[in-house]
Subunit: 337 residues, 2 copies
């Protein structure tokens, strides 16, 4: 089953989308919004699934689906926590700084509490006051959970994953060092994120969803050129079950909690840092990683962060080459009040 | 105007509460939930205000109001960010560690993104898996905002404060050092917070609300004994306008965003760290502060953190001695799945 929220009011208008992303049918006879569906999943999911089946068979009224009509599946959410599950990426951050990564980072997930109140739509521009903030994409996988009890195990947590999405966790790199030095984590350095047009049930992903990981390449483009295609199922040290359990150690998580994987990152085939797509490598899911590799290899970063007018596209395709979640496709624009 | 959310479903049932907290009337003819009211404040606020007036005059149907029937005013919210506006408190944290606080902390607010999906009701027990986590209260003031545009000024932000509340920002002190050392801020060390039964419009606070600060003592008790009575309007380096502007520097804040003051903390009359209530001082709003003062004065902390069976009460009274927000009153209990 595939779900999307068409832009409408604060929470969007929930629609069920066909598997090939061409048609949609209104979910209103079942529930008005995705948060409403998650709040009452046991009742809603089977009925939405019936609509989904009717849509595939042409037995329910439907209309043409346009990705650019979509808000993020949850335009505002009660929680967004983002892990750093690809420890390879964290290791590179440290190496580029000339620092050692603590060994515990391989067993204890890094995770931050993000702002969840004002997500961008997948085609909305990223409006930032200054290019000097060091604007970067971070292409990630994210899941939406049901109600998660405090102290849940990773196995139990995996069964509570309701939907899977892609996310662009926009980061302001030049604000990060000073903010993290204060000790309280990210705030100003993480502006609003954007999610893929469509959220998909794990069951719909078939064999690509296994052990709490999504085993397909995550495709990132900058200005229409391939930038990265790392395999999201490879080098993911902590699967989503482990990430959810980490977030729920001392508190319950309410239905509609979004948990992110952190920037997808693969080592190169030789075990070293990844190479650019143009050099035959898998590329990167954020510019910071490319800059870190440049720093390690050449002594200095040379790829600039994003400029006004640049565009970023994040997508994932199935084995047959069809887009699974639709595309996040955003232009960077100046913010003027 | 005073508003509360009676325990009901996921978002409570909004009621308008009489000024003396004895009676309430259902807000349902206007709007069902507090989030609904905040989403459409221009329309709802005048009508809720009419209900409030009717309640005072006995011209609307009403029923007896019981604080223990209340959920937090927003049982789940789209955002909870908590500042450390009482820089005196932060300075003490550093002094107790033998470290210098950076001078920038007097001009650039410390603030963390908190979990907002699962708040406790004001009379709900605080359930924690282990006393070894170092369970502590933090008595604070919090405000709920309307929609805040990105890049708002502190002056503009002050005008967007819709409601004022008290909060117990429960903290797990022994989990904090390792978590902050990882660099991504609080997550497991901040379990669910609880808010006062009643949220109050700034206008209702009269002269006690001035310049984005609440000028009254915040009363904290542990096990029925006075623990703290610091003046929330004193030593608040950053008023709520500055805190909101800080949070909104790189992104908009959606209506219903909750912004906290951080632990209220006053210097002693002689300019040094505060003394205990029993010693003629104003006491503390968290046990950690008392332990820091003990460390600075006596070389070691001796007051233990909270144990199972302990209780915490947080309240604020007006000049006539009447409770303004009702009381947060919570028992610490073991969490067993």
């Amino acid at each position: 089953m595939k779900l999307a929220s068409l832009t409408h009011g604060r929470d969007g208008r929930l629609v069920v989308v066909s598997n090939d992303l061409t048609r949609a049918t209104d979910a209103f006879p079942v529930v008005a919004t995705l948060q409403g569906a998650l709040d009452d999943w046991e009742r809603c999911a089977p009925r939405l699934s019936d609509l989904s089946e009717g849509l595939e068979h042409g037995s329910v009224p439907s209309f043409r689906f346009h990705e650019h009509d979509c808000a993020s599946p949850l335009p505002r959410a009660y929680q967004w926590v983002d892990g750093s599950a690809y420890v390879n990426h964290v290791d590179l951050v440290r190496k580029a700084r000339g620092a050692e990564m603590p060994a515990s980072f391989w067993t204890d997930p890094l995770m931050y509490q993000g702002g969840s109140d004002s997500f961008l739509g997948p085609r909305q521009p990223i409006r930032i006051a200054s290019e000097d903030y060091g604007i970067d994409l971070e292409a990630e996988i994210a899941v939406i959970t049901g109600d998660v009890p405090m102290g849940v195990s990773p196995d139990e947590a995996r069964a509570l994953i309701r939907l899977v999405m892609l996310v662009n966790d926009v980061s302001l790199r030049n604000l990060i060092p000073a903010e993290l030095a204060k000790g309280f984590g990210f705030l100003q350095s993480k502006p609003s994120s954007a999610f893929s047009p469509v959220a998909v049930t794990p069951g719909e992903l078939g064999s690509a969803w296994k052990d709490g990981k999504l085993h397909l390449p995550l495709l990132a483009q900058i200005n229409g050129k391939p930038f990265g295609k790392p395999e999201a199922g490879i080098d993911m040290t902590f699967d989503f079950g482990v990430l959810i359990a980490h977030a729920a150690k001392t508190r319950p998580l309410v239905a509609g909690t979004i948990v992110g994987s952190g920037t997808v990152s693969n080592r190169d085939a030789d075990g070293g840092p990844g190479r650019r797509v143009g050099e035959g490598g898998l590329g990167y899911a954020c510019i910071a990683e490319q800059r870190m590799v440049e720093t390690i290899r050449d002594g200095a970063a040379k790829t600039p962060f994003l400029r006004f007018g640049d565009s970023v596209r994040i997508e994932m395709k199935d084995a047959a080459g069809h887009s699974i979640f639709g595309a996040i496709d955003q232009e960077i624009m100046p913010y003027v009040r």
